[in-house]
Structure formats: C-alpha cells, structure tokens
C-alpha cells in the first residue's frame, strides 16, 4: 500500500432495510475514499442516510432490523462486506471505532466506566489485567477527565453528558484505531460542551494520526474540523470537495440550502 492509497474505499454502497411488506432504500449507491490521517465530513439533513452509511461500514444493523448491503467497503484493500462475522469483529473497535450521537444512552448503566473501557481492551489486546487497568486510567486522563484514577470506578450516571461523551471517545480510541467514525458526536450537547468535544476530537486525531469521519447535519460543525466534505441528500452523495471550496462556492442547490441554514455566527467563525 502506498502512502497515498486510501485507508477506506467505499464503492457503490447501498443499504436497504428489508421488512416483511416493504424495503426502504436508505443508502442508494455511494462512493467515497478516506485517506490515512484525513478528516472527512459528511453533512446532510435528518434521514438522509448518514448513520446508516456509518454503520454499514462496520456492518452494524439496528437491533431487530435486517439490512441488505451491496457494493464494497475496502479497508486497506480488504472488502469488509465479504469478511466472516469473526473477522469483522476484529475490525470493529480495533481498526475502525465509532462514537455515537447520544452519550446519555450509549453507556451501560450497570457497569463502571472503567469496566466499559477494559472489556474492549480485553477483547482486542493481550495486555495483562493490571496493564489494562492502568490503560483505562490513562485513557480517561487523555480525554480530559479529572481525577481519572478514582473515576474509573464510577457509574455512568455520575457523569454529565459532556463527560460521558468523553468516556465514549476514550473507549473508541482505546485500541488506537486507524479510523474514528463520529456520528453526530455533539448533537445532544449544549454549545459550549460541543466546542470542547470537537476540540478534543481534533487534538486526538493529531496526536494519534488517525483518520476521522465526522458526521453532522450542521455545516457549522465541520468548519475547521475537516479537509473534505461530502454532502448527502436522500441516500446519495450530491457534492464532494475541499471544505473551503464547498463553503465558498457550493455547486449543488441542496448544499446552498444547507449553508443558508447555518447561523451567521458559525459562518463567521468559518473554516480555519
């Protein structure tokens, strides 16, 4: 693999929810690349298929639904859609990790946050018990949780929403993934906490050199966060390009509409 070869190559990816009576085509043949270390934004209105795309990469169907996938998702040249169940599990979390939208419901209420970091490390690494415990503390510290050594023993309800998202980010980066998929990681948070979480993602990406797939419905969020952006509309990518160019001269009318919806303030902050 050359240095420029994409880390992730998605071609003609389609996702259909198969129910008894009808099938819903949520993603209708999309293609995109993510290069090593690159940050790519995915923007689009609610229901356009952003989350389904993100989950399709790791072949995660919502509980109780059957999703038929077609096309290909090549990670370092290997088609993830063709892997066995066991092989895709080794990719999930270890190579490609995910952070979800709602930190209030994304942690298991009956496990300590430390245990929820540790079970991931136990699954994917050969570290000893004590090493795993140390690493959990280190990770919490790395995402900016104060007094991490004591807080690994706390349960999720003892953390605020923003801190829970930090914990979920700590879980996601625990195995040094190549790609972090963040599906609207700040939508459920208030504006100040949003900015903190985005800064944290930016810092971690730089420190760890991982790629970032940042999903949002808010153009204001991708500004300053990513190099390239893909605009999604009804299950398709309708526009793709350098974020500055898309901001300055949106080609697709839908992109223009989305940009108009961004509050002035966010535009003023603009792309870095």
């Amino acid at each position: 693999m050359t240095a420029d070869a994409p880390l992730l190559e998605v071609r003609d990816l389609a996702a259909r929810f198969v129910a008894r009576a009808e099938t819903v085509e949520a993603v209708r043949g999309i293609s995109f690349d993510i290069r090593p270390g690159e940050a790519v934004g995915f923007v689009g209105e609610s229901g356009c298929g952003k989350s389904v795309t993100a989950r399709a990469i790791l072949r995660l169907a919502p509980e109780g639904s059957t999703v038929a996938l077609s096309g290909s998702v090549r990670y370092r040249g290997q088609d993830l859609l063709a892997l066995s169940e066991r092989a895709i599990r080794a990719v999930r979390g270890r190579r490609i990790a995910m952070v979800f939208q709602d930190p209030m419901t994304s942690l298991n209420p009956v496990m300590t946050v430390g245990a929820q970091i540790e079970d991931m490390l136990r699954e994917h690494t050969d570290l000893s018990r004590t090493a795993i415990r140390e690493r959990a503390v280190e990770l919490l510290d790395q995402v900016g949780i104060e007094n991490a050594r004591a807080r690994v023993h706390d349960h999720p309800h003892q953390f605020s929403g923003g801190m829970r998202q930090r914990v979920l980010i700590a879980i996601a980066i625990s195995c040094n993934p190549d790609l972090l998929i963040a599906d609207e990681p700040t939508t459920a948070l208030d504006v100040i906490v949003q900015a903190q979480i985005l800064r944290l993602l930016l810092r971690l990406r730089e420190q760890m050199g991982m790629s970032l797939m940042l999903i949002t419905h808010d153009f204001g969020v991708v500004a300053g966060m990513v190099e390239r952006v893909n605009v999604m509309y009804r299950g398709r990518i309708v526009e793709t390009g350098e974020v500055d160019r898309v901001f300055a001269a949106p080609a697709h009318p839908y992109t223009r509409a989305l940009l108009d919806a961004v509050p002035r303030l966010a535009i003023a902050r603009g792309p870095a």
Binding site: E63, G64, G93, F100, M104, T105, S106, L107, V110, G161
Partner: protein, 326 residues
C-alpha cells in the same frame, strides 16, 4: 435528564426500610384481625370438628368450647390472643396441644424449600424461554408464546394431578412422590421436591417469561447495546454484560412479587403430592378448625410476602439509583 452528580447515600434505603417496618406492623395486625374473624365466621367450629360424630350432646360441645375459651365473645378471644402474641406466644395447637411454633417450624422449612426451588425454576424456565422468544421475535417465537398461553390457562393443580396420575399409572416403580426429609437424605429430599416445584413454578414461569421477553426487547434496542457491538465484543459478552445484566433487574423484581402466588399455590401442591409442609398443614388445620395454627400460618405467610417485597423494593431502589437518568 438529570446530569448533575448526586451523592449515593444509604439514607433513602434506610428510610424505605423504616417506613416499610411501620407498614409491615400495620399489615400484620390487619391480617391477624381478618384471619381471626373469618375463621370463626366459617360454619362449624373446633368443638364440632373435634367431636366428630353427627349426634353429640350439647353439653359436650359446650365443655370443649369452654376449655379452649371459645365461649367468649370474638373480640375478647382476639385481644387475649393478641396480648399473648405480642409477647411471642402464639399459643398451642388445639389438636396436638403442642406449641404452635414448634408445630409450624419444621413444616415452614419444607414449604420455604419448595417455594425457593419453585422460584428458581420459574426464573430459569421463564428466563430461558423469554430470552428465546425475544431472540426469535417474528420467526418462531409463537411456539414459546403458545406454550406460555397454555401453561397460564391450565391451573397448576390440574397439572399436578395429571402428573401424579400419569406417573402412578405408567411409572409406579419410580416412586417419585415419596417425600424424604432433608435430614434423612438431602439429595433424595431435593429430588422429591422437584416435580412438585415444577408444577408450582409453571404459572409463575409464564409471567417471568413474558417479562423477560419484554425486558430483553426493550434493552436490545438501547444505544449501549449497539455501542457494545461496535466495540467488537463477542456476542456472548454483549448478551451477558450488556443485555442480560440490564434486563434481569425487572425480571427478578417480578419474580419476587410472585412469591405470594407461589405460597398460595403450595397449599394445593403440597396436598396433592403429600408433602408435609405448611400448605398441607394449613389445609388440615382448616378442616379441624385448629384456630391458633391457622392464625399463625396466615400471619407467617403474610410476613414472608411482606419481607420478600421489601427485599425486592430495596433491590429496585438500588438499581434505580444507577439508572435514574433513564
């Protein structure tokens, strides 16, 4: 959504226990009055039951009543009983003349054993079938639901009677229904309780099954289960640490609340299987109008139910403190 940190203190649970203790006293007092009055409102009394024959001299009946204090007004009898009970004396059996406590003690152990085994069976059977039917939702879970419907529709004493009859007819050599005391042979003792416990457990296992199904379905659509899968955890771990650990709290609560119906059911089951427990004893005591024994058994049963419910509430309050943001 509560995002603030709330210190976890033991005081709410202590308060819960204190309030419940007061309630328990009130409930037991109420139960004792109702049981006392109802027993004496039944047609016939101990004197008639004791005399046995159809033609008895009125003087004989009167003598018996006088001897046991049954000639007094009911409220006088009750107050006397209450006064003694408050000092820990539940009186003597009219029939055996032995202290009620030593009469009931060993029988209570047997019933507690039977009820506990039945509760565990209900939890195991209901938990397994409920989980199965949640996992098979929309495919073959109708099998589980049909069986559940049938088990609920057929009363446990019918099942018990059928089992006794069939086993007696087809497997008389098995000798399944000879109750063995625990001290004589612990293994045989538990073995002899298995079938009766199963009959007792059936109806409750349906409730557990339906609740498990609902809880598992509810929990599996939670975000943290998706997160667990996205972490690459193996299915067994996702099921155990994420799904079941969350689904079991309501299920155990429901099972605890069924203890009353298990105790009620044990009266029939013990009678059918000839198990010398409290249920059968209560049945016999009602027949012979052995008032002090009936009174004590009813009170004990009420106390057990109240106590188990208290345990369930404490467990729930603790779980609630953890998941309070939901």
């Amino acid at each position: 959504m509560a995002t603030a940190r709330t210190p976890r203190s033991g005081s709410p649970i202590l308060r819960l226990v204190a309030v419940r203790l007061v309630w328990t006293a009130a409930i037991l007092l109420g139960v004792s009055v109702v049981a006392f009055v109802l027993m004496r409102a039944l047609p016939g009394d101990f004197a008639i039951a004791a005399a046995g024959a159809q033609f008895v001299q009125a003087e004989v009946l009167e003598a018996i009543r006088r001897e046991f204090g049954l000639d007094q007004p009911v409220w006088v009898q009750y107050l006397r009983w209450l006064g003694e009970a408050l000092q820990g004396d539940l009186g003597r059996s009219f029939v055996t003349r032995r202290p009620v406590t030593s009469e009931i003690g060993p029988r209570f152990v047997v019933t507690a054993q039977l009820t506990l085994i039945a509760a565990l069976m209900a939890l195991a059977i209901g938990g397994t079938t409920g989980l199965l039917s949640a996992r098979l939702r929309g495919q073959t879970d109708w099998v589980v639901r049909l069986v559940n419907g049938l088990s609920l529709a057929v009363p446990n004493f019918v099942v018990a009677t059928l089992i006794v009859l069939m086993a007696g007819l087809y497997f008389p050599f098995l000798n399944l229904f000879n109750y063995t005391p625990f001290l004589a042979d612990p293994l045989a003792n538990i073995g002899s309780l298995l079938l009766p416990a199963l009959c007792l457990a059936l109806a409750v296992s349906v409730t557990v099954s339906e609740n498990t199904r609902a809880a598992v379905l509810e929990v599996s659509s939670q975000d943290f289960v998706m997160v667990a899968r996205a972490k690459g955890l193996r299915p067994r771990r996702v099921l155990g640490s994420y799904l079941l650990r969350n689904a079991l709290t309501p299920v155990i609560t429901v099972t605890g609340l069924q203890v009353a119906s298990l105790l009620g059911g044990s009266i029939l089951i013990e009678t059918i299987f000839a198990i010398p427990g409290m249920g059968q004893y209560l049945f016999d005591s009602i027949t012979s109008r052995d008032y002090p024994v009936i009174q004590a058994i009813v009170l004990l049963a009420a106390a057990v139910v109240v106590f188990v419910n208290l345990l369930v509430d404490i467990a729930y309050a603790r779980a609630d403190a953890r998941v309070r943001y939901e």
